[in-house]
Symmetry: C2
Subunit: 152 residues, 2 copies
C-alpha cells in the first residue's frame, strides 16, 4: 500500500473525493500487519472519529482493494481480512484458535503449478494458508486472543 499522501493523490485522480474519514482509514492501514477485518479497522478508526460508520469503512476498503492498494483475503475465519501488503509475494499463517493472521514472506516464491495446465485449468494465482496455533494461543500462561471460527 502506498502512503496516505499518495493515496490521497490516487483517489483524486480516480474521481474519488478525499474525506477526513478516508484519510483516517489510510493512516490506520498504513503499516498494519494484523490483517484486520472491516470491523477491526472500524474499531481503530472510531477511536479517532467516534461517528464514523461501518459502511464508510467497508466502502473505503473496497475502493482501496479496487485500486489494488490492499488485498482482501478469505482465509476461513468468517470475515474478509484486509492486507495492505500487496508488493511482497507472501503467504499466510492463520491461527485456528484466535483467527490471527501473519505474513510469511519469501516462502515458495517459485510456486507455480504446471499440472494445472494439464487439467485444463487456467491458473492465475496460488495461495498457501498454513493453519496452526499462534504464539499467544500456544502460551500456557497468557490468555490467547479472542474469537475463533473454524472451518477446514
Amino acid at each position: 500500500m502506498r502512503t496516505p499522501e499518495e493515496l490521497t493523490e490516487l483517489f483524486r485522480s480516480s474521481g474519488r473525493k478525499v474525506t477526513a474519514q478516508r484519510q483516517c482509514i489510510f493512516r490506520v492501514l498504513q503499516g498494519d500487519e494484523t490483517h484486520p477485518s472491516a470491523e477491526a479497522v472500524h474499531a481503530v478508526v472510531s477511536r479517532e472519529m467516534e461517528t464514523i460508520s461501518l459502511k464508510t469503512v467497508y466502502q473505503t476498503l473496497h475502493d482501496l482493494a479496487e485500486l489494488g492498494e490492499i488485498a482482501s483475503l478469505d482465509v476461513g475465519t468468517g470475515m474478509t481480512r484486509f492486507d495492505p501488503n500487496v508488493t511482497d509475494l507472501h503467504h499466510h499463517l492463520v491461527c485456528r484458535q484466535c483467527g490471527s493472521v501473519r505474513d510469511l514472506v519469501a516462502v515458495f516464491p517459485e510456486l507455480r503449478i504446471p499440472e494445472g495446465a494439464d487439467l485444463g485449468f487456467d491458473v492465475g494465482s496460488a495461495e498457501i494458508v498454513f493453519r496452526g496455533l499462534c504464539p499467544e494461543c500456544r502460551a500456557p500462561a497468557g490468555r490467547g486472543r479472542a474469537r475463533a471460527r473454524s472451518s477446514t
Copy 2:
C-alpha cells in the same frame, strides 16, 4: 471416505443411528469428486428422497467430518465444501468464475514450513489453493457453470 457399509458400522459403533437418509448421503458422497456444498448434496439426495431436509444433510455432513471421514473446506466460494477424499494428500484448484473445485494430487507433497516454527507458530496443516478458470469457464462455446462468488 470409507464405503457406505463401513460408515454404517462406524456410525453404530460411535453411538449414532443409521437411518435411510444418512445412508443415502453416504452413497451420494461416495466417489463424488465435485467438492459439493451442503446444498449441492441436498439437491442430489433429494432426487432419491424428496422429503429430506437441508438440516439433516448439514447434520450428517458434520458427523462425517467429526469422524474424519470427509473434510470440510473453505476455499473462498462463500459456502463450505465437502471433500470425501481424506486419504490422499492433495490441494485444490478453484475456479474463480463458477466456483468449481478440483483436486490436485501429489503436488508439493513435501510442503512443510520451517519458517512457521521460527515465528512461534505451531503449524498443523498447509493448504494450497490455486485460483483460475476451469475448462468450462475458459471454453468460448459451452456455457460455464453457475454461481460465482469472489474474494481475494
